[in-house]
Symmetry: C2
Subunit: 247 residues, 2 copies
DNA sequence: CGAATGTCAGTTGTCTGACAACATCATCAA
DNA sequence: TTGATGATGTTGTCAGACAACTGACATTCG
């Protein structure tokens, strides 16, 4: 039986954040299934050596996620939705580079253009920029062998990346670059749709065989809740599919 | 300045649940925007006449939703994501009928075929059926005026719907039908991709102008965690887009 | 004068202990 | 047998306290 939280001093997160993780682990380890009851608050506070308010905040988060149900006077129970799991849902934020690798590709990224420009009103609004601010526009292809599997356009505030644009390597993960110079995106709001590639993109890059594209338009936010990137990612339909849970 | 929670006695929900709602309302009413600071815990506990632990549980929920972010020692601040909250993300389970209506369509559903058959191994597995069980296959078009906006194929266990198939009205919500005869689906696992409609579907229904389709393949589960339906929904790409949050 | 350090008030993070409200079950009395 | 009652275990809520962090200002030292 474990006692106390795992990474005593090393973990800078709040007790609640750690607890939340510990509780998820507990459910997994103890192989609790739908309908099973969680240990009582008394037992959990004793086991992890934390206070009831902290524990309750963590449990409340699991409850909001639909992992557990609470019945006043009885206890907390594993809900049926907890069993619904997909391996890496689209609702988990990660860099495009990582996502593509997970599909088993070892992509080669080709920069089509990199420029500094005045943002469209739509993009300025998405990035919460004032009227004078400028953006960096990055246009890339992701290739698997010689096949184009993605066409990507990214916008980041010019102020996020200091220095000359030509001095940087834009072939890697944009998130890594943002982390180094600014703030790493931690979450996003996204809209997905099925489209054909814009004709001029097809013509310019000889993408006549690209077929239907899975388009994700996404605004990425830092930990502090600031928008730090706007992306339009066109995924070759035949090369990608995305899973998620609905509840 | 309001004092205490609104619906004093009538509201049977927990204080935390009410608070969560009150806080959302507060943000709206006070027209708080990205970067603004929320009132302090001290002020909020005073205003709503509730304890700090209860308040903190509610705030933790808003935090998990990405509506606010906390800085230890400074306060709580409205996140940029709060402004573009998607009211109904794709991760919220609902019937196709309801979803389509939300897009502003008043669809007319046309049944192409309804039949009882032996399931493909893939479908039998998705519905956790034993080898002898049979399924109902329902093939439909959803029309807006005379335009086809969706092509849908649904599979449900034969045992879920008793009686003769011809005696039922299949033009409505399949979820409603399942609720009446069996168990209403409450959640699902889904996979989305961008495809073209299968050629034979295009030919048979004169859908040459359908364009790229947003395909959602979905296994729906009941409250008890039992699979009750398998669906393939092809959405006309130009007519639908789906939002969600990643974190 | 400038930079590092100390102090203080304000805010969030965490803990302790207590009581209320609800669910379950054993006990007891009619 | 059955209904009332109370004991016990559980979650819901409250009150107060202290710790840890932030920012601003004052102080000290070079």
């Amino acid at each position: 039986m474990e006692m106390g939280l795992r990474n005593g001093l090393r973990d800078k997160r709040t007790v609640v954040a750690q607890l939340r993780e510990e509780l998820s682990l507990l459910i997994e380890k103890e192989k609790l299934v739908t309908g099973d009851r969680l240990p009582t608050e008394l037992e959990l506070t004793g086991r992890f050596r934390i206070s009831r308010p902290a524990l309750r905040e963590a449990l409340k988060l699991l409850e909001q996620d639909g992992i557990i149900n609470v019945v006043h006077g009885k206890g907390r129970f594993i809900s049926a939705t907890a069993a619904l799991r997909v391996e890496r849902p689209i609702t988990c934020f990660e860099s495009v580079t990582d996502m593509v690798r997970r599909f088993g590709y070892q992509p080669n990224n080709k920069v089509l253009s990199i420029s500094e420009e005045e943002p469209d009103p739509e993009i300025a609004k998405a990035l919460a920029l004032n009227s004078s601010a400028r953006v960096i526009r990055l246009e890339r292809l992701r290739m698997q062998n010689d096949k184009v599997i993605m066409y990507c356009v990214d916008y980041v505030p010019r102020s996020a990346i200091p220095g000359r644009l030509d001095d940087l390597d834009w072939t890697g993960s944009l998130l890594d670059l943002l982390e180094k110079h600014y703030q790493r995106p931690k979450m996003s709001t996204a809209t997905a749709s099925a489209v054909m590639l814009p004709q001029h993109i097809v013509d310019r890059n000889n993408l006549h065989d690209f077929g239907p594209a899975f388009l994700i338009e996404e605004i990425a936010f830092s930990d502090a809740g600031l928008p730090v990137a706007y992306a339009q990612d066109y995924h070759r339909g035949s090369a990608f599919s995305f899973s998620f849970v609905r509840k």
